[in-house]
Symmetry: C2
Subunit: 374 residues, 2 copies
């Protein structure tokens, strides 16, 4: 129940343990085609360039920037947590010029600030933002941000690592252009793959580049020779076959459940957890309408020590919850209810464990007080 990786369903684990086959085997090409269709469903898109990058979400982020940003390109980057900062790093390493729009950690991206930045920088080519901030548990309004980008003739580059499969990500309806995610959050697959999707507008920018993409491994032109249409696939790299067996199974399970049902399940379980935590007096960091149902970021009760509680949860309950990052380190917990981890028994385990610790803590406090008064 940390901020990811989430637990993996036994069906997905079993799929990964199948004997490997060649990355150009006809049966594997069929599997790749199915993965693409299933990912299009997950992203709610008809984008032809929809496939999993053979590397973790952080590489997926870099693949988006490396393909879309050319030296000198101005990119408006929204930062309201860890991953906006990482976006800035990526823009700079691609030779682009980041224009930062900063919001407090725990707040959503402020639409007015973004609109002002787009107005001040009419030469900006890309608006980059994090839909679901894994470091703070905040959802920003991707649809509204994309609308602003379109009004100012910018492409959007969007992090959906924590949102995909857990809450609505409507790539086509919202007209997002370059979107990356991760396999290990609400898709409940093993970490190591990054689902990507690119709109026609994004592909156009890649095709019209003046310079080659600086990364050979992440060059979309080369990758699409392997993941593209038709039976004829050009060898690019050796695909992580077993990891893709797992992703295929995880996406199949999402399809079987139905996206809307998965979103409902994440929302419902979030409300149950919220009520349980509230009864312990544990408060959310994030205001109600910005909360991500799949990632509950709450304040560490004053009576408890962050690190020792997390260590004890792991040791005695075999339960992982995440600590805070950056300015929130020590002050918050990040409790994930993602994918296969989003189940009532986990909520009961977590709330029960925290309750027992709060009681222990009161008892200890009583002992301390008694000792002090002696």
């Amino acid at each position: 129940m940390g901020p990811g990786p989430s637990n993996i369903h036994p069906r997905v684990l079993a799929a990964m343990a199948q004997p490997t086959i060649g990355h150009l085997d006809p049966a594997f090409i069929d599997l790749m085609d199915e993965i693409k269709v299933l990912l299009q469903y997950a992203f709610q898109t008809e984008n032809a360039a929809t496939f999993p990058l053979s590397a973790p979400g952080s590489a997926g982020m870099e693949a988006c920037f490396a393909n879309l940003v050319e030296p000198g390109d101005k990119v408006i980057v929204c930062q309201n947590g860890v991953f906006g900062g990482r976006m800035k790093e990526n823009v700079e390493r691609c030779g682009g010029i980041p224009v930062m729009v900063e919001d407090e950690w725990g707040c959503a991206v402020d639409l007015e600030k973004v609109e002002a930045a787009l107005g001040t920088h009419p030469d900006a080519k890309i608006l980059a933002f994090v839909h679901a901030e894994t470091s703070t548990g905040v959802e920003s309004d991707a649809r509204a941000l994309a609308d602003l980008a379109i009004q100012h003739d910018c492409l959007t580059l969007v992090d959906t690592v924590t949102s995909l499969g857990g809450s609505p990500v409507l790539v086509d309806e919202w007209e997002l252009d370059a979107v990356y995610s991760g396999s290990q959050k609400c898709l409940s697959c093993a970490p190591g793959l990054s689902p990507l999707t690119f709109s026609e507008r994004a592909l156009e920018k890649v095709k019209n580049r003046r310079s080659k993409v600086q990364s050979w491994f992440m060059d979309l032109n080369l990758i699409m020779g392997y993941w593209g249409k038709g039976r004829r696939r050009a060898y690019h790299h050796t695909a992580p076959v077993n990891a893709l067996f797992g992703l295929h199974e995880a996406l199949l399970m999402l399809r079987e459940e139905g996206l809307e049902n998965a979103w409902d399940r994440h929302l419902h379980n979030h409300l149950v957890l919220r009520d349980g935590l509230a009864s312990l007096g544990i408060e959310f960091l994030v205001r109600k309408d910005w909360r991500l149902p799949q990632l509950n970021v709450v304040r560490v009760p004053e009576a408890l020590n962050d690190a020792s509680v997390r260590a004890d949860l792991l040791k005695y309950y075999n339960l992982e919850i995440g600590g805070g990052l950056g300015p929130l380190a020590g002050d918050v917990w990040r409790i994930g209810l993602m994918g296969y981890s989003s189940r009532p028994e986990n909520i009961l385990l977590c709330v029960g464990a925290l309750e027992s610790m709060l009681k222990t803590c009161s008892a200890l406090a009583t002992v301390h007080k008694t000792l002090e008064n002696q």
Copy 2:
């Protein structure tokens, strides 16, 4: 029995199917430490910077170039197959200047040509070459090439994707500087990870860079914050936990067998396959002293059609062998005997299957002749 991925041992498949745990879980940190020690053994090195990159071998290649090559750096690149060409691409995309030393596909890298290039380009910073060419089944003399590089004050950047675990790779004894490999060849793990090792000399060059590494995901300075020493690991990316469970088990099995025994097994099985193929009149592309025991590249008999034989092997025998690449397409087969695939029963299956096809082919030729003579 293609050029990789090789078959995966059931122990490794079972390891990958274990429930995932957090990438910062203390138990996982212990596992990372064990992987590093086991990889040091596989590479025969004491390099502290020895770890698996969370992406396939092609990304491992790029990680070596992206860290070591700075804009304007001259790099001598030996090309005697597909992967030397890919090295050139990488040098260029890092802003370096490649100086090509070319040898025919199927030949080893020519030491005299390399020495001449080093003499002509005293400002070269790096000598890059492929130890075991997966496209041709050729081994080049890594020790001698490294000696030349040292004489000319160059770092070496070496591809050991197909050699590691199958034939000697002595990183410290040969004084190699930046070495990458793959998980899916003689280590017989799932594809998707790239074992890397960097000497102190290589790290020195990375530390003294004038510019940042252009890739955030592959930046050695950041990766070592996660894979480095001590209990305190900085989050960089979410490690592919289950893939690393598999690599750990595969490396453990290599350690149990013993490196020298693994090399002997690969060599012995190669000789058995060679004799079997010789009895069918199938000849090797590569001259005897350059042959890789783990990758047997042979000429397609004139009586047989490359593509249809490979399709039939897959369809009727569930057996994959590789076709030729580049100028060798259609003319050669690449028969792997790598890791867990290097076993007598596989040799019997492969030789038996090819024998049956050659006989079928003679029978068909008889029928054709009869028809023609009617």
